[in-house]
């Protein structure tokens, strides 16, 4: 009797790390499925390869470190990292992108830091950034939608060839994402009024019927999954709301100043995986601040960086860079932004009672 932990509490909320990971997986599932349908079997191949690479790397690292493999592998974190990494990759990327990405996510950005809970950067985002700067061609080959079971879709055998030996005719099937296209054309001194009408229909873009990463295009599904996570209390509202609102405000302000140079907030919110990033990557508990105010600062920082990188940076898309940069700022945010302690001032001094106790005979 009572051989177990002596300390109270002796009851527990029905919550656990595997449950949290499972709920996030469920929330991202519609977005991933949409991407798989939109881009066909090669996308599925890439997803499987990436997830498998993550799981194998996780198991190998745990066993080298002499830690129990099973409980950590079953907590679902490596599986989730694999899925999140895959949905942030170009759908027809070759298999080794998935393998290298998985290796980078699990080994370099997670296990080297000490495993789950210890990593400074979101593994999937850091892996995506590393792949993008190392393999810019493979990481920016955006396939036009090739919906599953449509005539344009590659068959099962063709898709294996695409994943494992490369795409034969890249130019014929791919194009730039809308943000990439805007950047190139702006560089050629065109105005948005000339660029957008032929390439961008906000309705279709909102539905996600366009090129991009597996999970990038259907922003409305990512938004739905994120709202569901909020409703299930898996994540809190501070980070996504601050991030999306910051992008919207910045984009709106600059668009009002010069509509020919700066795209409208709608385009910014519905492209480049902003929703996916705001709800699924920026909210990674390990790499974001733990206090509500810290989370607001973190989210706003992510949003500002996304807009800055997209508008003035060297890359057309900035969600991954923004999140990784803000990850690096998280320890600083958590150090300086702490909640006020009950009965103390923000400075930590004892806080005198604001209203002195009324004398007897007087009700409060």
């Amino acid at each position: 009797m009572n051989l177990h932990l002596p300390s109270a509490p002796h009851t527990h909320a029905p919550d656990s790390v595997p449950r949290i990971m499972g709920l996030v997986l469920l929330a991202v599932a519609p977005t991933a499925l949409y991407g798989l349908i939109l881009f066909g079997w090669p996308a599925l191949n890439l997803l499987l390869v990436t997830v498998l690479a993550c799981l194998i790397c996780e198991a190998a690292c745990l066993s080298i470190a002499g830690r129990p493999v099973k409980p950590s592998l079953w907590d679902g974190s490596a599986l989730l990292t694999g899925v999140l990494l895959a949905v942030s990759l170009p759908p027809w990327a070759p298999w080794w992108i998935g393998v290298l990405g998985g290796f980078f996510a699990i080994v370099i950005s997670k296990q080297v830091f000490g495993g789950i809970g210890q990593n400074l950067f979101n593994p999937a985002m850091l892996a995506r950034v590393a792949l993008l700067v190392s393999f810019p061609v493979e990481m920016t080959t955006w396939i036009h939608p090739h919906p599953l079971f449509s005539s344009a879709a590659p068959g099962l055998l063709d898709s294996l060839a695409i994943t494992f030996s490369g795409i034969s005719d890249v130019d014929g099937v791919s194009g730039a994402t809308i943000l990439g296209h805007v950047r190139t054309q702006l560089g050629m001194n065109q105005t948005l009024g000339q660029i957008l009408p032929e390439h961008y229909q906000s309705g279709i873009a909102a539905l996600g019927w366009t090129g991009g990463s597996i999970g990038e295009t259907a922003e409305w599904l990512a938004l739905g999954g994120g709202v569901w996570l909020l409703w299930r209390r898996v994540i809190t509202w501070q980070i996504p709301v601050a991030m999306i609102a910051t992008v919207a405000v910045l984009a709106g302000g600059f668009h009002l100043l010069n509509p020919d140079r700066f795209a409208d907030p709608g385009l910014h919110l519905l492209s480049g995986g902003l929703m996916l990033g705001a709800f699924f990557f920026a909210t990674d508990p390990v790499t974001s601040p733990t206090t509500p105010i810290g989370q607001l600062v973190f989210g706003a920082g992510c949003g500002a960086l996304v807009y800055i990188i997209r508008t003035w940076g060297g890359y057309p898309e900035g969600v991954a860079f923004a999140i990784v940069l803000m990850n690096a700022a998280t320890p600083l945010i958590d150090h300086y932004i702490r909640p006020r302690i009950y009965g103390r001032t923000w400075g930590g001094q004892s806080r005198p009672v604001k209203r002195p106790p009324a004398g007897s005979g007087e009700a409060p």
Partner: protein, 490 residues
Amino acid sequence: MKLFDFWGGVHPAGHKHLSADQPIRIMPPPARLQIPLQQHTGLPALPVVKVGESVCKGQLLARGQGAVSASVHAPTSGTISAIGDFTAPHVSGLPLPTITLDSDGEDRWLDREPLPDPFALVPEQIAVHIAEAGIVGMGGANFPAALKLNKARQAKVHTLAVNGAECEPYMTCDDRLMRERAAGIVDGVRLMLYALQAPQAVIAIEDNKPDAIISMTAACHGDPQIRVVVVPSRYPAGSAKQLIQLLTGLETPAGGRGTDTGVLVHNVGTAYAVHRALRQAHPLISRIVTISGGAVAEPQNLEAPIGALVEDLLGFCGGVNGEIAKLLMGGPMMGQPLPSRQTPMVKGTNGVLALTAAEAQLTTPSPCIRCGRCVDACPMGLMPLEMSKRARHDDLDGALAFGLIDCISCGSCAYACPSHIPLVQYFEYARGALEAQERAEQKSKETRRLLEQRQARLARAEQAKVEAAAKRLAEKQRAKAAKAGVGVAA
């Protein structure tokens, strides 16, 4: 009344249905009672009876000593069979000075003379009677009630908050008391208001106790000084600091007292004990306890004599079904695991829980994923994850900087943690280590002081010796000179 809100908190499953509808049953005294002499904050009481002496029910067994202490009375009539050490109701199971009383089965009262009218006394005198009855805070704080009332009167408290929140899961003793003995509680509240010289009292009850709300509202109907306030069911609404925040929006200053906000919090059980002490000359020798949990055959609420063993309490409730995974004194959020069933209940025992393995939810901790659920749950605005990280690495200063001394050990953080990290245990450990460190510092300071004193003493002795030698030498020379002078003169 406008309600405010307290920070954080959690919604643990109530499990109150197990015992909430069981009326209070009076448990006759078992053959032997083990009555600890320290059931309160402060010094243990000093025995005033001898082994072999026969005592009546209500007779003084041990007198409180010093400013902070409480007297202990005989819960039944019988013979004192031993005064010595017995297992304390604490997780350590360490022995505590205890009076063993063998019941004679007659339950014979001491001649009692209830006061004709307590309100004819001066307020200070009410507190004296409360102290003589051995009443301590019955919500679990165990602080002597009279002392608390006196200090609050001096602090000119304007509101008495009567705590009937009972936010701990499983616990229904306050609920039953409010449902069945509302008039007694309200009378106790009036007496305490008089002792405090305060104008008003609010009785705070969580909204999951509708019957208690109805009966208490009826009992204080027509009294302009007392009203019932329904508070939302959220743990830890029954913690004094959070209750004050809920009722007034004010925070108890760090290092200060609740009365700094003008509010004094007392439990409903304490109010009832005050009523009995002043109206019936009935000292605190029994209390209502909830005996519950999945392993108890017939969960219910007992009015049981202080000093009854957990074994007897469980036996009176039909014994135990299956295996007990955890035996607790108190609720599952803050209760103490008991080392043995041979442990006595005390004045502050609100319940005994025998939990099955399914209820106790024994889990293995996994690494922290920094999700911040503990930060959201903390009613004190702390960052439990940062504090535990530092406590774990023996960085006590770091843990202090994150507010270790502000933690009220409510357990909300550990309840909410998805990694099942025993956060409270880390905090208790750090607090223990801090105390040990302070003791060691105190000891080395004292040693240094004694050493310095000794050195000063030795130096003084040496100085005196040198001075004496010089004096002797001078005298000798003077004598020599005088002699020589005499010689010359001669």
